[in-house]
C-alpha cells in the first residue's frame, strides 16, 4: 500500500519534468520553419525575440506573481549593451549576449528592492518609472547611445566564428531560435524544481510561504534578477540581428506589448509567451497589411475580447478539441491562476 503511494507520489511529481508530445512537436515545428519558410525569417526572428522577452516576463508574472509595466528597461539595456559593445569592436555575438545578460541582471537585482515592496499598483508604477528613467538617460546620453538618432555603426561578427549574418535573416533567425530554445530549457527546468515550486507558493500565498520557512524576499529578488537577464538577452538578440538600436527598445509600448503578448498566450506555463508572440506578430502582420493605419485598433479590440471572455475558457475549448484529436497528451498545462488576468 505504502509503496504504491510512494510510486504514485514520485510519478506525479516527476511527470512535470518530462516533455510532452505537444511540446516536442512545438519545437520541431519551430525548427522546421527554418527550412520551410525561408522568405519569412525576418518576422520569425522577431517572433523568437518577442517570445523570449515574454518568457522572461512570465517567469516573474506567471510564476512569482510580480506585475510589471516596465520590463522594457531590461530589454532596452540589453539591446544597448550589446549594440555599444559591437560598435566598439567587440563583435562576437555570444560575448555580447553574456555582457547584456549581466548588465540587465545587475539592473534587475538593484531595482528588485524597489519593486518588491508594496501593492500591485505600486509595482506597476515603480517598474514603469524605472523604464521611463532609463529611456530618458538613453535619450540624453547621445554620446554613448546616439540619442534620438539611434545607435549607428553596429556591426556583428559571425556567430561562433562561423555563421555570418545575412540579409534574409536566416542566420539571425537560427541564432535567435537556438538561444531562445536553450534559455527555455533552463526556465522549464527551474519551474519544476523545488525553487520553482517555492515561487508558485509565494504567488499563491506569501504569508503561508513564509510560515513554511521560505525566505520570500530573497526568492523574489532571485527570480526578478533572472527574469531581467532573460529580457536583456532578448534585447541583445534584437540589437545584434538588426544591427541597430533606437530609443524604441526602451519605449513604453515595448513593456505594454510584451504584457499583451503574455495575456494572449496565457501566463504561468512558459509557452504562453511563445504562443502569444506568434499570434501577436501574425495578427500585426495580417491586420497591418489589410489596414496599415488602424491595426492597433484591432489589436486593442482583440485584447478586450480576450480579457473579458476569459482566456481560460477559450483555451479550455481548444484543449478539449486537441484532446479529442490527439487522444491523450502526456502533459496538461497548469491551470491558470485567475488572479493574473484580473490583475492586468
Amino acid at each position: 500500500m505504502s509503496t504504491n503511494i510512494a510510486d504514485h507520489v514520485r510519478t506525479s511529481l516527476v511527470r512535470k519534468g518530462r516533455w510532452g508530445i505537444g511540446e516536442i512537436l512545438f519545437w520541431l515545428i519551430a525548427a522546421a520553419t527554418l527550412f520551410l519558410l525561408p522568405e519569412r525569417h525576418l518576422i520569425l526572428n522577431e517572433i523568437a525575440i518577442i517570445g523570449l522577452f515574454a518568457l522572461s516576463l512570465d517567469l516573474i508574472l506567471g510564476y512569482a506573481g510580480i506585475v510589471s509595466l516596465g520590463h522594457a528597461a531590461f530589454f532596452g539595456l540589453g539591446a544597448y549593451a550589446a549594440g555599444i559593445l559591437a560598435k566598439h569592436g567587440f563583435a562576437d555575438p555570444l560575448l555580447g549576449l553574456l555582457i547584456a545578460a549581466i548588465a540587465a541582471a545587475i539592473l534587475g537585482f538593484v531595482t528588485s528592492f524597489l519593486v518588491l515592496r508594496g501593492s500591485d499598483l505600486t509595482k506597476l508604477m515603480v517598474t514603469l518609472g524605472v523604464a521611463l528613467v532609463l529611456g530618458e538617460i538613453a535619450n540624453q546620453a547621445s554620446w554613448l547611445t546616439g540619442g534620438a538618432d539611434g545607435l549607428q555603426g553596429v556591426s556583428m561578427g559571425p556567430v561562433v566564428g562561423l555563421f555570418e549574418f545575412d540579409i534574409f535573416g536566416t542566420t539571425a533567425y537560427a541564432y535567435s531560435l537556438v538561444v531562445t530554445f536553450l534559455l527555455f530549457i533552463v526556465a522549464r527546468r527551474i519551474v519544476v524544481s523545488p525553487y520553482g515550486l517555492s515561487l508558485r507558493s509565494i504567488r499563491d500565498n506569501p504569508l503561508r510561504a513564509r510560515a513554511v520557512g521560505i525566505p520570500v524576499n530573497r526568492r523574489l529578488v532571485a527570480v526578478y534578477t533572472l527574469s531581467a537577464a532573460y529580457a536583456g538577452v532578448a534585447g541583445a538578440l534584437l540589437a545584434q540581428t538588426t544591427q541597430f538600436v533606437s530609443l524604441d527598445v526602451l519605449a513604453f509600448h515595448r513593456s505594454a506589448d510584451v504584457m499583451l503578448v503574455l495575456v494572449i498566450g496565457g501566463v504561468g506555463y512558459l509557452y504562453g509567451g511563445l504562443i502569444g508572440a506568434i499570434i501577436f506578430k501574425v495578427l500585426q502582420d495580417v491586420i497591418s497589411a489589410w489596414t496599415p493605419q488602424y491595426w492597433q485598433f484591432w489589436i486593442g479590440l482583440i485584447l478586450v475580447i480576450i480579457v473579458l471572455a476569459g482566456r481560460e475558457r477559450l483555451t479550455e475549448r481548444v484543449r478539449t478539441l486537441w484532446k479529442g484529436v490527439a487522444g491523450r497528451t502526456a502533459k496538461s498545462p497548469e491551470p491558470l491562476p485567475k488572479t493574473s488576468v484580473r490583475e492586468i
Partner: protein, 250 residues
C-alpha cells in the same frame, strides 16, 4: 524536564493598548499545552510574537534555550517552530502533494535547488508519503487544494506545518469551522501527533482542550491569568468567572 519554548517578560504595546502584558510562559518538551482565553485576550498577538510576525516591545523568546527574539519568521521555522492558522492559509492553486512536497523540500534545503526536479530524491518521497498517510490525505493528493472539502483542507493546514518537522508546533484553533462529520478524523490526527513534538494549542473549544491538553494557561487582557493542569484550571472559579464575563477582583 527540558523547556521547548519560553517567553520572559514579553510585552507588546500598540500605541496605548497593552496587547501582551509581561507574559512569562514555559512550554515543556513534549507538552500538550493549551492556551485559552476570552475574545480579545491577546492570543493572536501572542502567537504572532512567537512566530516573529511582529516584534515585541520588550522581553525575550527562547526556543530550546536559544534566543530567537530578533530572528525573522522563516528562520524560526527553520529552527523548528511551526504554526497553523485559524483561517486556512493554503496554496489554492497547488495540490496537497505539491504543498507537502514544498514544505519537505524547503526543510531539506531543496528550495535553493533549482536544477533538480521536485521529488527526484528518495528520502523526500518517503517523507511526503509518511505525512500524507498520517494526515489521511492519500486519496486527495492530486486534487486542487481549493477543491478539497473543508475538513481535508484543515488536515492539510496541519500537515504543512508538520512537514516542516517542528520541535514546537503552534496549533491555532485546528478544529475551527470543521463540520461535525469530519471532526473526528481531525481530532484523531491531532491526538496522534508524535510525542517528540511539543504542542501549544490555542483553542476556544473546551471539549478539544480537555481531551487533548495536559496543561492549560489562561490569558486575560494580555496577561497570564493562571496556569495549571486541566483539573486545576477547569475547577478554578475565577476562570469560570472570566469565561462567563463576570468581573473578577484581583
Amino acid at each position: 524536564m527540558a523547556i521547548a519554548l519560553e517567553t520572559k517578560g514579553l510585552v507588546k504595546r500598540f500605541g496605548g493598548l497593552q496587547a501582551t502584558d509581561n507574559v512569562s510562559f514555559q512550554l515543556q518538551q513534549g507538552a500538550r499545552h493549551a492556551l485559552i482565553g476570552p475574545n480579545g485576550a491577546g492570543k493572536t498577538t501572542f502567537i504572532n510574537l512567537l512566530t516573529g510576525v511582529i516584534k515585541p516591545t520588550a522581553g525575550q523568546i527562547l526556543l530550546e534555550g536559544q534566543d530567537i527574539t530578533g530572528l525573522r519568521p522563516e528562520l524560526r521555522v527553520q529552527r523548528g517552530l511551526a504554526r497553523t492558522f485559524q483561517i486556512n492559509q493554503l496554496f489554492p492553486a497547488m495540490t496537497p502533494l505539491e504543498t507537502i512536497g514544498l514544505a519537505v523540500s524547503e526543510r531539506t534545503g531543496g528550495g535553493r535547488d533549482w536544477w533538480r526536479v521536485t521529488g527526484s530524491k528518495r528520502d523526500i518521497i518517503d517523507d511526503i508519503v509518511d505525512i500524507a498517510q498520517r494526515f489521511r490525505l492519500t486519496d486527495v493528493l492530486d486534487e486542487r487544494t481549493s477543491n478539497l472539502p473543508y475538513g481535508k483542507q484543515r488536515l492539510l493546514e496541519i500537515a504543512v506545518a508538520f512537514a516542516c518537522r517542528p520541535r514546537v508546533l503552534l496549533l491555532d484553533e485546528p478544529a475551527a469551522g470543521v463540520p461535525e462529520a469530519e471532526r473526528h478524523e481531525l481530532l484523531a490526527t491531532v491526538a496522534a501527533l508524535p510525542r517528540d513534538v511539543s504542542v501549544l494549542l490555542i483553542e476556544h473549544d473546551m471539549d478539544l482542550v480537555f481531551s487533548f491538553a495536559d496543561r492549560i494557561s489562561v490569558l486575560v487582557n494580555g496577561a497570564l491569568f493562571t496556569e495549571g493542569t486541566v483539573e486545576e484550571v477547569s475547577t478554578d472559579p475565577r476562570v469560570r468567572a472570566v469565561y462567563l464575563g463576570e468581573s473578577v477582583d484581583e
